[in-house]
């Protein structure tokens, strides 16, 4: 994790210094692109979302104030909004609450399940989770975020995030193929 002092200093400088903003971009591009892709499962769309996130961040960075959470939390929030905006554009208002359905990527994912290795199969199963569960799982298990931070990103309470994670794991237990042989070791 970035050192808090240094990150805050860099963010403060980025409000006036293009080079500092470039440094922030370099630091957070990989995780924001990865997170965007995990949400939209389309390379071109992930590029669009990532681009929008950083341009929004640039436009609004002077209004950003440190709230005790990493700067990346803010970027994750913008990402989620950008993804939501995209789907609103495509389909009108989309309910982003748990269980909302979006254009399915299931066929491609099923192909992946067949072809790819165990790790990819697990993550393919995560792709099939409801959106909020999926976001919580990706932030926890791929991005190693703390529950409190995930709560801030998703705009939920820590308890709600715990519930999302719990439901997601329960669902994975039920839905992973039998050859995973998940059991008590």
């Amino acid at each position: 994790m970035p050192d808090g002092f240094e990150e805050r200093d860099l963010v403060e400088r980025a409000k006036q210094d293009p080079e500092a903003f470039g440094a922030l971009y370099d630091r957070y591009f990989p995780q924001i692109y990865r997170f965007a892709y995990s949400r939209v499962r389309d390379q071109s769309l992930a590029e669009d979302v990532t681009s929008e996130v950083f341009f929004k961040a640039l436009r609004n960075i002077k209004r950003y104030t440190y709230s005790g959470h990493p700067f990346s939390s803010w970027l994750y929030q913008i990402t989620l909004n950008a993804v939501a905006d995209h789907y609103r554009g495509l389909h009108g208002e989309v309910d982003l609450e748990e269980g909302a359905s979006l254009p399915s990527t299931a066929p491609a994912v099923v192909d992946e399940v067949v072809r790819r290795d165990r790790s990819r199969r697990v993550w393919a199963a995560i792709d099939q989770l409801p959106r909020q569960q999926r976001a919580a799982m990706v932030l926890k298990f791929s991005e190693d975020r703390k529950i409190e931070e995930i709560a801030q990103i998703l705009g939920k309470s820590s308890g709600a995030v715990k519930l999302l994670l719990h439901r997601a794991v329960e669902r994975l237990r039920r839905e992973l193929p039998p050859e995973f042989e998940i059991g008590v070791t």
Binding site: M1, E6, L10, V138, V169
Partner: protein, 769 residues
């Protein structure tokens, strides 16, 4: 699970199994257009320069790097495997104002967890005077490097692993960029006159990165018993088929056999064009490379080579190399790829790597016979017929060689002479770091595992389940357990995988998630990683992977003390006086108030980072530890000095508190070599004091005059000093009675640039009864 939040949330063992599976997995990296990052950055920076206030002057780099503000930024980012530093070069000598000629964007800059074995890659685009740029590179602390251009990437390859816990700076000196490039690429809109003027940099460019923080050597070493080791995160080194064989070096890097033509620093491989005089050499199909544990090719070692083996010290490598007339040479190379010796030439590549016997002999099998040669190629013993697979393994601590001989498997005593017969069918020999021999003997339906504690007196310790065989025996670093590959002998047998078994045969435990893919495990010398192969279902081949192997520690008291020190230091770095004082007892509070050290940093500055250097039992108090911490201070965001504190941490009730402090004087950074760590290791009947520096040193300046241990009266203690320049490691072998001593390192120690230690370095050495 190693995540308190998840542990709290998932109490059900079945849930935990899913969580462990998730923690052991990572989503595949998303597809990414390699140009997208730069494309977006260029657009963003254009917008940023338009909308954000302009700075009075611009540096080369996409962040503030004037000498006053070259902060070794504390950004800890996710582990990557290359240090990629974004550099902007300004062209001068043009009719208009300087402009950005190249803007290559580094994904990672100011990293805080750079691996010590990683090359430094600096990408450039557009015209640069490659020779001048490469020549202008200066690295601090002083480090021997080679520099190569791979396309537009400048690859800086340290001659030896970098020092841990060290902030490095890479400087491009502008004065050295005056040479015109041999084939400069003119930039658009350049006139013929300006085209003759090479790119010249405007000001020095300095970039910083900090190497990883290794764990503090525990007082009680961790146990690698079978039930104590957890399979952690795994990492595929390369695509299936691009690594054909791999083995650890004692330094924790990998020696890999790769098909000719693989990319890396210095590629394309010279083996493709190497043609010695005489009969034409057969076309080489493989090369031997040095690779980091993360899978980054470091350098080509043996063109046309295969089946490498590092010597026990790790200083040289033996390998087979294709030669003229369908023959192969057994040669020795250093870790820079320099040929050291050509020992013998034989008619075809054997099917196993040469085996080092100590540092001065090598065993190999050719045409069914065992040969042992010295480093002049002289046959050191009569050739012996071998049987079976002709498998060989040599003890690292004695002149013992296990051999599948034609008359049956034996252990040859190459020192005292004679041999010890092993059970029929014994093979898969593996020696532990302590000189234990393990091997397997397979029967029709199962495999027996044997261990010989002295290398000779063997006993069967375990047998595999029926319908399963064991192979690929591998010792844990502390010889507490063995890692084995399991294979089903029938369609109904257990799926192939890895299993850990204690040295006494107890507690066989699967290692890694249940899978049909794992084989050929090799534990890294330090035990933190396991190398193995795994079937790639997508590509259809087998790929080499590593997985972290985390042993549990029994050193809970020391860990508790270190945890309190960590809280204390975090509070100080955050400027939280109340939280810092909560970690002190009354005596500790009094010590800081009396000025023994500064609690929250120097006037006008602050503490920026720290790391623990040592932890040792306090010689005088029970339930107390002496924890040495190195603390870095910064002013205006610039890290400019460090000092050390020796904290006495004492158990009071249920909790450790800091009871006393001794602080060293502050030392300026960037002024000559510094000591990175001091470690006291029990090596009965004496001790070793191991001192690691951050710089490449002049060996002649590392002597008993410059590195000393003094007793309580200030008298120099007798010691034998050895120096390992590759690891910047000075080792004093001493025999000390219980008590407190002082390690002294004088300013007579200098780096390869003749810069001396800025100040004398002292550290306490405590020997407990």
């Amino acid at each position: 699970m190693n995540d308190p939040e998840l542990e709290e949330l998932f109490g059900d063992p079945a849930d935990r199994a899913v969580v462990d599976l998730l923690k052991a997995s990572r989503p595949a990296a998303p597809p990414l257009d390699p140009h997208f990052h730069n494309y977006l950055r260029t657009k963003l920076m254009t917008e940023a320069r338009r909308t954000l206030p302009a700075r009075p002057s611009r540096s080369w780099l996409p962040f503030r790097l004037s000498p006053k503000t070259m902060a070794p930024a504390m950004a800890a980012v996710a582990a990557g495997f290359l240090v990629v530093l974004g550099v902007e070069i300004y062209l001068h000598g043009q009719t208009r104002a300087p402009e950005i000629a190249q803007a290559n964007i580094g994904a990672i800059n100011n990293k805080m967890d750079v691996g010590t074995g990683e090359p430094i890659v600096i990408p450039f685009t557009g015209p640069v005077d490659k020779t001048a740029v490469a020549e202008s590179v200066v690295i601090q602390p002083a480090t021997s490097v080679t520099k190569q251009w791979v396309g537009q990437n400048l690859v800086i390859i340290p001659a030896h692993p970098l020092a841990p816990n060290t902030t490095y700076s890479v400087t491009f000196k502008p004065t050295a960029t005056a040479k015109p490039s041999a084939t400069p690429t003119p930039a658009p809109q350049q006139t013929p006159a300006t085209r003759q003027t090479p790119p010249v940099v405007a000001a020095p460019v300095v970039v910083h990165f900090t190497t990883v923080r290794p764990p503090v050597t525990p007082i009680v070493p961790p146990s690698f018993k079978s039930t104590s080791v957890a399979y952690g995160y795994d990492n595929r080194l390369a695509d299936a088929g691009t690594i054909l064989g791999a083995a650890w070096t004692p330094g924790g890097q990998l020696l890999v056999t790769r098909p000719v033509g693989q990319l890396g620093p210095g590629s394309p491989s010279p083996s493709a064009s190497a043609t010695p005089s005489g009969p034409p050499a057969p076309k080489a199909t493989t090369d031997v490379w040095l690779m980091s544990s993360l899978g980054t090719p470091v350098r080509l070692l043996v063109p046309g080579g295969s089946l490498p083996a590092a010597s026990p010290s790790g200083r040289v490598v033996a390998a087979w190399q294709t030669a003229a007339g369908n023959q192969v040479n057994l040669g020795v190379w250093d870790l820079q790829g320099g040929p050291q010796a050509n020992l013998v030439t034989i008619g075809g590549i054997p099917d196993q790597a040469p085996i080092w016997i100590g540092e001065d002999r090598i065993a190999y099998v050719d045409q069914g016979r065992l040969h042992i040669v010295d480093l002049h190629g002289t046959e050191a013993s009569p050739a012996m017929r071998v049987g079976g697979h002709g498998h060989l393994a040599a003890s690292p601590v004695a002149a013992l060689l296990a051999v599948e001989a034609a008359q049956g498997p034996v252990v040859l005593d190459l020192g005292a002479g004679g041999s010890t017969a092993l059970p029929a069918g014994a093979t898969g020999f593996a020696w532990s770091s302590k000189g234990d021999l393990a091997f397997v003997a397979s029967h029709s339906a199962s495999t027996d595992l044997y261990v010989a504690a002295d290398g000779k007196s063997y006993r069967k310790v375990a047998s595999s389940p029926v319908d399963q065989t064991w192979s690929d025996v591998n010792w844990s670093p502390d010889a507490a357990s063995l890692l084995l590959a399991t294979t089903a002998t029938t369609a109904n047998g257990t799926a192939p995988g890895l299993v850990l078994v204690n040295r006494d045969g107890s507690n066989p435990t699967p290692f890694g998630p249940a899978s049909k893919e794992f084989a050929s495990p090799q534990w890294s010398p330090s035990g933190d990683l396991v190398l193995f192969t795994r079937k790639d279902e997508a590509a259809g081949g087998r790929a080499f992977w590593t997985a972290s192997a985390t042993p549990s520690t029994t050193d809970s008291a020391a860990n508790q003390a270190l945890a309190e020190v960590a809280k204390f230091m975090l509070a100080r770095i955050n400027g939280d006086n109340i939280a810092a004082q909560a970690e002190l007892d009354d005596a500790g509070v009094a010590a800081y108030k009396a000025g023994a050290s500064s609690l929250l940093g120097p006037a006008g500055g602050h503490f920026s980072r720290y790391y623990p250097v040592t932890v040792q039992p306090s010689g005088s108090k029970p339930n107390a530890f002496l924890v040495g911490v190195r603390i870095f201070s910064a002013k205006n965001g610039v890290e400019n000095s460090f000092f050390e504190e020796q904290l006495t941490v004492v158990l009071q009730g249920q909790r450790y508190l800091i009871d006393a402090v001794n602080a060293s004087p502050a030392m300026m950074l960037g002024h000559g070599p510094t000591v990175v760590s001091v470690e006291v290791v029990q090596t009965p009947p004496g001790e070793q004091v191991r001192v690691r520096f951050d710089s490449d040193l002049k060996p002649e300046t590392v002597s008993r005059d410059t590195i000393q241990v003094k007793d309580g009266d200030g008298k120099v203690v007798d010691a034998h000093l050895s120096f390992d320049p590759e690891n910047h490691l000075a080792t004093l072998a001493v025999k000390l009675r219980p008590g407190t001593y002082k390690l002294v390192i004088t300013t007579g120690v200098t780096d390869i640039n003749d810069v001396a230690l800025a100040q004398e370095y002292d550290a306490p050495v405590v020997i407990s009864p």
